[in-house]
């Protein structure tokens, strides 16, 4: 069937009418449409297009709108929409400055000839070749993508070395250069510290813990998760260390992350010893050796930051460590008095991989081996990442959770579901979380967590203690203090650091 409408004396140019017809044809219920001035020729064209024009009463200066379809109501609505389209012409986009987006590296370089860094977050199977072409054009590369083959990573890093360039990654999510946040990173003041990190949230936690102690960071170089394994040989970590050691803007160097392969760890320690400036090695769960000033060995992220801060400010590192322990002891005692210890299981749900790792390390000291999808001990690997068993700490940033989904630091929905699920488990008595802020992260992670906690409370009442840490600063887009308040209002205990949170969480569980 058809519906037509004639609007007397309404003139529109043919292109506008064609564009309106195109939009109308997209409407549900419209199989074909025609908008034209009422000339004889146009009326014949309408007939050719399937319209019955016998009852049309239109002059050449009148506009005829016609729609064909099956449903009278939908056609009537379409006529109204047609008139709206002519009035508003919604296909006209805002003609404001459309920045040209080049389609190629060469195109980009013709616009920004001074470029010195390529940030690559395309699919892994293309990322390696793309990184290579960027290196060949003389750009350093931050390779955010993962699933880049090992052989390609080694090839890239050797090529970079030849050219005095650096490849940060693959799987490098966090970099800071002259205080600017690249990828998922926090906003902190600059200062005379350089960080080399084999881990994203490792860098983030160290970065913000330094800020909390009044110390700024100039550069935070990510190396990617695989760099310090034997095959890659720490190519990026070592090159980054050399650069920061010879940089006279850097007074203290901090190296953090999960433990490197033993021979790489040795190489790093050797470089540190020859540096001629203070170097703090904070491998979470790595060699706990005696300090050899100016080289210091730490086993936790906050501890590393505390020692680095002390060295930078000229205060005593041992005092810093002692103060940290005293603070934690006091805090734990207070919270135990308030909340009480309880039986049951600890469930940790993490968005940051290194934070998850550190949490397992700290918690296992009190609770014994912890199950995880990324466990410290291979024997403790969960059979099903979605099903906890006993004390369990899960990394939601691992591959099985991120296929076709955004990273949990960007989209907290998946982890949110798990919080509710864990609340339903009558064995659970403590839930431990990280809340990661900064550029590139979700705009309100605390909001998502607090809404989940609220829902969980209606299921579990006071049975579960919720413990969290906020990895962020007030200068971050999310504002750490504001995020902290949101969590506390929901009844979450917010700790000073990830290590303290893991310590508290595990301390709340009645001893074995």
């Amino acid at each position: 069937m058809q519906k037509t409408e004639t609007i007397k004396g309404a003139y529109y140019d043919s292109v506008t009418l064609m564009l309106a017809a195109r939009e109308l044809n997209k409407l549900d219920g419209v199989s074909s449409s025609s908008l034209s001035m009422g000339t004889e020729a146009n009326i014949r064209i309408m007939e050719g297009g399937g319209f019955d024009t016998a009852t049309l009463d239109a002059a050449p200066n009148d506009l005829i709108i016609g729609v064909l379809g099956d449903d009278a109501d939908k056609l009537a609505a379409a006529l109204e929409t047609a008139k709206e389209y002519l009035a508003k012409q919604p296909w006209k986009k805002d003609s404001g400055a459309s920045d040209y987006k080049p389609k190629s590296l060469d195109g980009a370089l013709s616009i920004l000839p001074g470029a010195n860094l390529a940030v690559v977050s395309v699919a892994g199977r293309y990322a390696g070749d793309l990184a290579e072409s960027c290196l060949k054009k003389g750009l350093n590369v931050m390779l955010f993508s993962d699933n880049v083959p090992l052989e390609k990573e080694i090839e890239l890093k050797k090529l970079a070395r030849e050219k005095n360039l650096l490849v940060m990654g693959p799987d490098c999510g966090t970099v800071v250069i002259r205080g600017k946040a690249l990828g998922m990173a926090n906003v902190c003041p600059t200062g005379p510290v350089g960080i080399v990190a084999a881990a994203g949230t490792g860098l983030q936690e160290a970065h913000i813990q330094l800020e909390r102690r009044g110390v700024g960071t100039l550069h935070g170089i990510g190396t990617g998760g695989r760099d310090v394994k034997r095959e890659v040989g720490g190519l990026t970590a070592l090159a980054a260390m050399e650069a920061l050691i010879s940089d006279d803007e850097i007074r203290t160097l901090l190296v953090v992350g999960k433990p490197p392969a033993p021979e790489i760890e040795q190489k790093i320690a050797d470089v540190a010893r020859k540096a001629g400036k203070p170097v703090v090695l904070g491998f979470v769960g790595g060699i706990t050796a005696d300090d050899e000033p100016p080289v210091y060995f730490c086993s936790g992220l906050e501890e590393s930051a505390a020692v680095t801060a002390a060295l930078t400010l000229g205060t005593c590192p041992s005092d810093a460590r002692r103060e940290l322990k005293e603070r934690d002891d006091k805090f734990i005692a207070e919270q135990l008095a308030k909340l009480g210890s309880r039986r049951g299981c600890l469930r940790g749900l993490y968005s940051g991989g290194t934070l998850c790792y550190e949490a397992q390390l700290v918690a296992s000291a009190k609770l014994g081996a912890i199950r995880s999808n990324a466990p410290l001990d291979a024997k403790m690997k969960l059979a099903d990442s979605l099903t906890s068993k006993g004390h369990t700490i899960v990394d939601y940033g691992e591959d099985e959770f991120t296929q076709g989904k955004l990273h949990p630091m960007i989209d907290g929905a998946f982890r949110r579901e798990r919080i509710i699920a864990e609340a339903r488990d009558p064995e659970v008595s403590v839930i431990l979380l990280d809340v990661v802020l900064g550029h590139g992260c979700n705009e309100n992670p605390a909001g998502i967590v607090s809404s989940a906690v609220g829902e969980a409370r209606s299921i579990c009442g006071d049975r579960i203690a919720f413990v969290a840490s906020v990895c962020g600063t007030d200068a971050d887009p999310q504002n750490a203090s504001a995020q902290r308040r949101i969590l506390e209002d929901a009844g979450v205990v917010v700790c000073a650091s990830n290590a303290q949170a893991a310590l508290l969480a595990s301390s709340l569980i009645e001893g074995r």
Partner: protein, 64 residues
């Protein structure tokens, strides 16, 4: 229009700060713009050509 190449090294980037070419997630470009960093976002799509052809073309350009 000859092919562009930049001359920088890792050290010079640490000294002068970053000027970025971004491939992939647009949010990284907007985050950098917010911080006042020079950034060009590339409207990148996977190459239509096979990687064997691309590498041969690369060699051809290198040799000449």
């Amino acid at each position: 229009m000859s092919e562009n190449s930049v001359s920088s090294s890792f050290d010079s980037m640490l000294k002068s700060g970053v000027a970025v070419v971004n491939f992939g997630m647009e949010r990284f470009s907007s985050d950098l713009k917010e911080q006042g960093v020079s950034v060009v976002h590339v409207d990148w799509r996977p190459p239509a050509a096979k990687s064997s052809l691309l590498s041969k073309l690369g060699k051809l350009k290198q040799n000449s």
